[in-house]
Symmetry: none
Subunit: 218 residues, 4 copies
Amino acid sequence: MPSKTFLNLSEEKRNKIIEAALNEFSLNDYNSASINNIVKVADISKGSMYQYFDNKKSLYLYLLELASEKKLNYISENIDIKSDKIFNLIKKMHLVGAKFDLTNPKYSMLIINAINETTNDELDNISSKLKEKSDQFFNKYIQEGQRNNLIRNDLDDELLSFLISRFSMVLIEYVSKKYNFTYLDLIKKGENKLPLPEKELEKILKQFITVFKDGFKV
Amino acid sequence: MPSKTFLNLSEEKRNKIIEAALNEFSLNDYNSASINNIVKVADISKGSMYQYFDNKKSLYLYLLELASEKKLNYISENIDIKSDKIFNLIKKMHLVGAKFDLTNPKYSMLIINAINETTNDELDNISSKLKEKSDQFFNKYIQEGQRNNLIRNDLDDELLSFLISRFSMVLIEYVSKKYNFTYLDLIKKGENKLPLPEKELEKILKQFITVFKDGFKV
Amino acid sequence: MPSKTFLNLSEEKRNKIIEAALNEFSLNDYNSASINNIVKVADISKGSMYQYFDNKKSLYLYLLELASEKKLNYISENIDIKSDKIFNLIKKMHLVGAKFDLTNPKYSMLIINAINETTNDELDNISSKLKEKSDQFFNKYIQEGQRNNLIRNDLDDELLSFLISRFSMVLIEYVSKKYNFTYLDLIKKGENKLPLPEKELEKILKQFITVFKDGFKV
Amino acid sequence: MPSKTFLNLSEEKRNKIIEAALNEFSLNDYNSASINNIVKVADISKGSMYQYFDNKKSLYLYLLELASEKKLNYISENIDIKSDKIFNLIKKMHLVGAKFDLTNPKYSMLIINAINETTNDELDNISSKLKEKSDQFFNKYIQEGQRNNLIRNDLDDELLSFLISRFSMVLIEYVSKKYNFTYLDLIKKGENKLPLPEKELEKILKQFITVFKDGFKV
DNA sequence: CATGAATGAGGCTTCATTCAT
DNA sequence: TATGAATGAAGCCTCATTCAT
């Protein structure tokens, strides 16, 4: 979505722009985010911004793509898809995903905000698309689990992947509630460090997986 | 939150205003919703609107209260809290909740939008408050279930209620995905009728409950 | 300026309205003062206010008249015009005037604000009129002093009365600066009590009179 | 306070805007002055104005600074501080100040209006600040006069400078009263020319100084 | 005589985008 | 390629006043 001009920019300048835009779009929803603010913070002219990106939407979608790519890369770099049993695999996916979110709160928040953009016509259902993508990602593993008789077959695979997918989206919310911090704090502080010991994160995930595997009942 | 002036209005006029505002706030997030639009549709002057409500926020919170009240009333009228076993009770709650959402899509969408207002400082964390309230509502039943040894005690009750609570928020999303309609359609058409047979709704819920009760595993 | 209706009101109600209006007009200049606010605080309907007074200006001028009258009464009650020598008389006038201002800050502030209304066409030069009135009041005494050879005759009597008159308008400002309080504080606290010992007020006035009588020079 | 954008404008355009704003703020108090009016007269779009200045206050403070600077420059260019005896110096200061006011009525009126802004919280006590500055300016000379035994030491130097300072603020008022013109006339006509012979101005000032030096008494 | 609902003009401000240089 | 000045629609909100009941 960005012009060649943008891609030819020095990395430093490009990053400054991305950083400024990321900040704005992670702290505001699409409509409330302001291009004016972004160019001010990035210290570039408005004309330049519109030479790099056709319009607000284009910039937004580019950032979103960047964030998605970054997250996917992080996950695929930190997980060994094949090695494990299904429930362990799912646990690891969530663990790695959560670690990405917590150490890249701006990117993560951007994606969350996009998922919340349910009413904005201008963005052609970006929210639905993102959710669908996530649902389908998990669906592969669910189906495989069912084929291997590790996951019960009397339940709709779409339902199961929907559940897993949605809960991957609120996991951080639970963690932050339990450990008393907010995304906003993480974003404002700057990032990089886990706000809780990894062991604790794993404990929570273990419980999550137990629920999904065995259910609530005694 | 509304002034006496508003409450003294003829019911017809009051409803026209509520309807117009509801429409705007269910189709747009808080910032994007426009008072100008609302007064145009309600066919009143801007000055009047501001004699009814102190400001945009006040109108919004009033609508939200209205919606919450309406939903709670609907649920308490359609459910017999005491009569049932825990998992049946939860199933019924969700069934009734879903029925409300599907037959009152504007009110429902308003609440959903409020839950998505995670970035708007002006609304003093309305999203968190709503979620917290829902979490605590379910927590009571979870704790009771644990006391009665119907729900396992080795899992954090907050985690379990968090899961149930969040699930109640996305249930309709799954239903609409499965039955190929969208909230927007329901809102635009006008309301009242379930867009799918109640039996089907129950079937879906039965599966959901099975998952929560027994888990994914074979 | 008020209607008979207003004058026939119970004293209590009338005072409530006056008090509310006084508050608004002492804390805001004419344009910024809001009838809406006044009726809200006075707890009467807008319709009533417009039955008591033709319009904003009419209410304002009424209050101003009230304040002027009150101040003049206070002064004439607390001073024995004839008994004294000219400079003593002037000193006493200022002392009494200052005491009125400090114990009736709302009325006083209203008058000060009116004197500051130099740009508002709507008020037909109320500021000039008030100043002129004050100038002429002092002019009588200056002329008499000159006739009696107590005040030098080589200086324009208008200039001298102008100086005395303007000084009377800023006296409180100096006092409040010297004694570290503000009109706003007095108004907000409620009134009645001198914020400094009367002796101190007299000391300041003694100096002032010395200046006017004998000048700066050694 | 203005943006670079504004400073980069052609002098012609910049002056047109300043002129329009000056007009509005000299003829109206802060609250009553209208940005809408200004942009209409200056023939620019509202959006442009807000690219030049952050907000109304910023524009206002810029004009005020401009006016203060212009007046100070005028005074320092037309007076030889060192050469004179104290009372002569004070007379000259007032003469030069009065000449500035009469030949730059818009700037002068703007400052006077600012001094009258006693009730507006938004302007953070601009009135007090301006007065204090003036008081302190004169205080230096009063203190020096006292050190050199030209001004009596039995009177509070703050009181003396307060008096001189306040009377510098009303001098023009007396002149215009005596010579039958108004600021408004000067502003509306355009400026530049003294509305009375300089000799006459000097005569008035001579009397003023006599009062301050020698007092009223025979 | 009291009420209070209705009004619409006008207030300040922000916005995404364009285009001549 | 970069710039930054220009725009005008739209945002929320306040106001003094009127008039039917």
